[in-house]
């Protein structure tokens, strides 16, 4: 038996040797060759559609749709193009044949022919059905209420990343998280989908806002009328629910140029502070009433139109002699308000402004937000305080005014102005309820018979205040004839449902807040009051 053993060693040994040599050939000598042909995995991101932005009644304010991109490219690596094919492509695109040939000459998986095709041309190319023609789909953001909302919504870039406004503030939420999956590629062929999902895409969460589009429209229309009255630099009208801070409308004039969506941003609401003028007076009045340093019916000597402090004379807009505390506010006497303002200690004075949230961010859902500016306590001397009493020498954002007046309206709670319906609200007690009751009556009379008369409307119980502030220009100080006029108020006075802020920058000719801003507020109140729409909208 053992005589034949060597035969088996020989046969199996030879076989093994052949295998080893063959392995060396494949794995070492031909390694490069096979490596180039081998598959490799690649991680690709899977697009998720950006979520919608809606108004309070579910109207679509911003949405993403899939459409054709206007680029045309050739996959010259995996598909072949005959001269006839290229001629067809050139004909469809109405491009010189040379341009198409140049693109086809490149060995590339994505050789761009043009980025500016037209819709009809894309359709014609689709009809050709050549598989090397790449006609990518792309997502596009659409804004159905063009002309009403772009300053608030902002815009997205080509990657659908939010660049301004709510699109930027809520970018992460709207975008969701793109998924990732593994695909295989080799050098010869296209990719193979492995159905191997690395990360499941997380769709964005739609943003339901507190905005009311019809009201936004009414505000815009009301502002547009200003053009004929005073041709302002700009104007804005904002409506907020003073109980919650929900912003129902924020209209601006002039509207942004729809063609320049790339610049579409309006930061007035949160990041461009202005000197408020007389609308700051009720905040200090609350402090004076709460501290017991003034009573509504006491008489105050209004200096016959002027007061001199530390060598500076401050003039009133009209000559007043004796006015009651109530009347100093109703007619917005600067001297009268400075007088009772002086009764507050420096600390109490500044504390009142801080209490109403001036000088710090409101937390509104827009970015960037400015805290406005209040002078530091050590610089707030008697003269500075006198100026602050009439709303000069400090600056506030629209959001801060809305917040402070919401507190006056709702019984003393600071709310956070916001656009998102599911915004986490925070309420903080900020004012004295007793003082507020008195103040509400004063502001009611201000609209009924005082400076706010032009906002008055039958059947609407307003409480409001006008303001006319000189506008400071950086480097030049206060410029004569340059004003920021405003009206802020709410109704119904005792059960507040709508707080309206109208700001008009640089009105020409007529410029008092009572003349230019109050009528806009009346138009808005008129709409809200029509047929009980107040309850319906808010």
């Amino acid at each position: 038996m053992s005589r034949r053993f060597p035969l088996f060693y020989l046969v199996m040994g030879t076989w093994m040797l052949i295998l080893a040599l063959r392995l060396g050939q494949i794995q070492v000598l031909q390694h490069e060759h096979y490596l180039a042909r081998s598959l490799h995995t690649q991680r690709v991101e899977e697009f998720v559609r950006r979520a919608e932005i809606l108004d309070r009644n579910g109207r679509l304010l911003a949405g993403s749709e899939t459409g054709f991109s206007l680029s045309v490219a050739l996959d010259t690596r995996s598909a072949a193009f005959t001269p006839e094919d290229l001629q067809e492509v050139a004909r469809c695109l109405r491009l010189p044949l040379d341009q198409v040939k140049a693109a086809a000459a490149k060995r590339s998986g994505y050789s761009v022919v043009t980025r500016k095709a037209e819709y009809g041309q894309i359709q014609a190319l689709r009809a050709l059905g050549h598989k090397g023609l790449l006609l990518p789909l792309q997502h596009q953001r659409v804004y159905p209420y063009e002309g009403l909302t772009e300053h608030l919504l902002g815009f997205v870039d080509y990657k659908e990343d939010g660049q301004a406004g709510l699109e930027r503030f809520y970018d992460a939420r709207l975008k969701g998280r793109p998924g990732a999956k593994m695909i295989l590629r080799d050098s010869r062929r296209a990719s193979y989908d492995l159905d191997q999902v690395l990360e499941a895409p997380v769709p964005g969460t739609p943003l339901e806002t507190t905005l009311d589009i019809p009201l936004q429209h009414v505000g815009t229309e009301a502002l547009a009328k200003l053009d004929a009255v005073c041709r302002p630099e700009w104007a804005s009208a904002t409506v907020m629910d003073p109980r919650t801070g929900a912003i129902l409308a924020h209209a601006i004039w002039p509207p942004l140029d729809p063609g320049a969506r790339g610049q579409a941003r309006d930061e007035r609401l949160a990041s461009h502070p202005f000197e408020p003028g007389s609308i700051v007076k009720p905040l200090l009045a609350e402090a004076a009433l709460a501290r017991g340093v003034a009573r509504p019916d006491e008489t105050i000597w209004c200096g016959h139109g002027a007061v001199t402090l530390l060598g500076r004379t401050i003039k009133d807009h009209a000559v007043f002699d004796d006015l009651t505390f109530t009347e100093t506010l109703m007619f917005s006497s600067n001297v009268g308000c400075i007088k009772w303002g002086q009764r507050l200690s420096g600390a109490d004075f500044m504390e009142a402004l801080h209490r109403f949230g001036l000088g710090r961010k409101t937390g509104i859902d827009l970015a960037p937000e400015s805290p406005g500016s209040l002078p530091p306590a050590r610089r707030a001397n008697e003269l500075a305080r006198a100026y602050m009493s009439i709303g000069q020498g400090l600056s506030v954002t629209h959001a801060q005014v809305l917040r402070a007046y919401a507190a006056l309206a709702n019984g003393g709670f600071l709310v956070t102005p916001h656009f998102a319906a599911d915004f986490k609200e925070e309420r903080k007690a900020a004012a004295d309820p007793g003082a507020l009751r008195i103040l509400r009556n004063i502001l009611f009379q201000t609209v009924e018979a005082g400076s706010g008369k032009k906002a008055r409307l039958d059947g609407v119980a307003w409480a409001g205040k006008t303001g006319t502030a000189q506008k400071a220009v950086p480097g030049r100080g206060y410029v004569p004839g340059s004003y920021v006029s405003s009206f802020v108020g709410w109704f119904p006075v005792d059960r507040p449902q709508a707080l309206v802020l109208v700001v008009v920058s640089e009105p020409r000719g007529v410029f008092y807040g009572s003349e230019v801003a109050a009528p806009v507020a009346r138009d808005i109140a008129h709409y809200l009051n029509l047929g009980g729409r107040l309850g319906e909208t808010i």
Binding site: M1, S2, R4, F5, L7, F8, Y9, M12, W15, M16, I18, L19, A20, R22, L23, G24, I26, Q27, V28, Q30, H31, H33, Y34, L35, R37, S38, L39, H40, T41, L184, Y192, L194
Partner: protein, 349 residues
């Protein structure tokens, strides 16, 4: 002369190393093959491999010689043959009569039958002169061979045929008969190929060099290079190789561990061959000697065929790599086979 009981450490070590390679192979490929229950799949193979490792050591303590020499051993042979025949009474699984469902497992009786047939042939050869053994060996081979061939499973039937032929050659088959048998064998194989469409198709593609599976096996091996892409780094497994965990286990190991890995695995089978044949020589012309010889060849020829297919020097033929490929029956059968070798090695004179 009594001596201390000591198994062949080389064979034991090689078998254990192959078991480890098998776990790596299944771990790497499983994710692609079984969607959803990858962990269960891998766990099953690991548990089974651990069991097999334990079984090897348990089995070698058991003296198989009395079993081999037992007068009732032929009954075991007939039982195995009957099991093969019984497969044809069962409904076909995936259109073949290869498997029997037992509990949750798919058992492949031919994996075990091939071992029993080799042992039976070893008995027949050891008990008789070559001339008298020829006919009984022929019949005892022919029945299971045909049954397996009809399942159809050309791989295992061919393996069995070649192994028994080698055993007869060792016994002293005259060269004239060798030539005759070789001619007859070639004819049988040719008929088996020609009779079934897909086999012919595969062969033609192999000759033309367009066979998809072997091409991707080469890509897998070739892209692995000297040291491979690392554990789990294989990409070819994803779908180019339709059976990365069974019929193309070697190519995937080559992609992940490179030439270093493939030569190491090849060397392990070389070690089993070398030590197995040394054992057969030491046991002489006894039943145990022929058994050791037959079993060694059965294992190594199967491995070499698998590797040859993977490196594309023979036409593609689906056959598992002992210990490494996924599959309970294949793994258990390989364990049984090496277990017998180790048991015999402990008690060699």
């Amino acid at each position: 002369m009594p001596r201390k009981l000591k198994p062949d450490a080389w064979i034991a070590a090689a078998a254990l190393a192959l078991l480890v390679a098998g776990v790596l192979n299944v771990t790497s490929s499983a994710g692609v093959i079984i969607q959803g229950s990858t962990v269960a799949f891998i766990t099953r193979q690991i548990v089974l491999s651990l069991f097999c490792a334990a079984a090897l050591f348990a089995f070698m303590r058991f003296d198989v010689r009395p079993v081999l020499r037992h007068p009732y051993f032929p009954w075991l042979y007939w039982a195995a043959t009957a099991a093969l025949a019984f497969l044809f009474l069962l409904p076909a699984y995936k259109e073949v009569h290869r498997f029997v469902k037992l509990g949750g497992f798919l058992l492949q009786p031919s994996e075990f039958a091939k071992i029993i047939v080799v042992l039976m042939v070893a008995r027949l050869l050891a008990e008789r002169e070559y001339r008298e053994a020829l006919v009984p060996v022929g019949t005892h081979l022919a029945i299971p061979f045909l049954l397996i061939l009809l399942e159809p499973d050309l791989g295992i039937s061919g393996l069995l045929l070649v192994t028994v032929f080698a055993m007869a050659l060792l016994k002293g088959m005259p060269w004239r008969q060798v030539a005759l048998a070789a001619a007859a064998g070639t004819l049988v194989v040719a008929v088996a190929i020609a009779a079934v469409g897909y086999r012919m198709d595969r062969l033609q593609k192999f000759v033309a060099g367009t066979e998809e599976q072997t091409l991707s096996a080469k890509i897998a091996l070739g892209s692995g290079g000297l040291f491979g892409k690392g554990i789990g780094g294989s990409h070819q497994k994803f779908f180019y190789l339709s059976k990365p965990h069974t019929d193309f286990a070697y190519a995937i190991l080559g992609e992940e561990f490179g030439l270093a890995g493939t030569l190491f695995i090849l060397g392990l089978y070389g070690v089993i061959f070398w030590r197995g044949l040394a054992l057969a020589r030491a046991l002489g012309g006894s039943v145990e000697g022929y058994a050791a010889f037959g079993l060694t060849l059965l294992l190594t020829i199967q491995a070499f065929i698998h590797i040859s297919v993977n490196v594309n020097i023979v036409p593609p033929k689906g056959i598992t790599l002992p210990f490494v490929s996924y599959g309970g029956s294949s793994l258990l059968a390989s364990t049984l086979l090496v277990g017998i070798l180790l048991s015999l090695s402990m008690r060699r004179p």
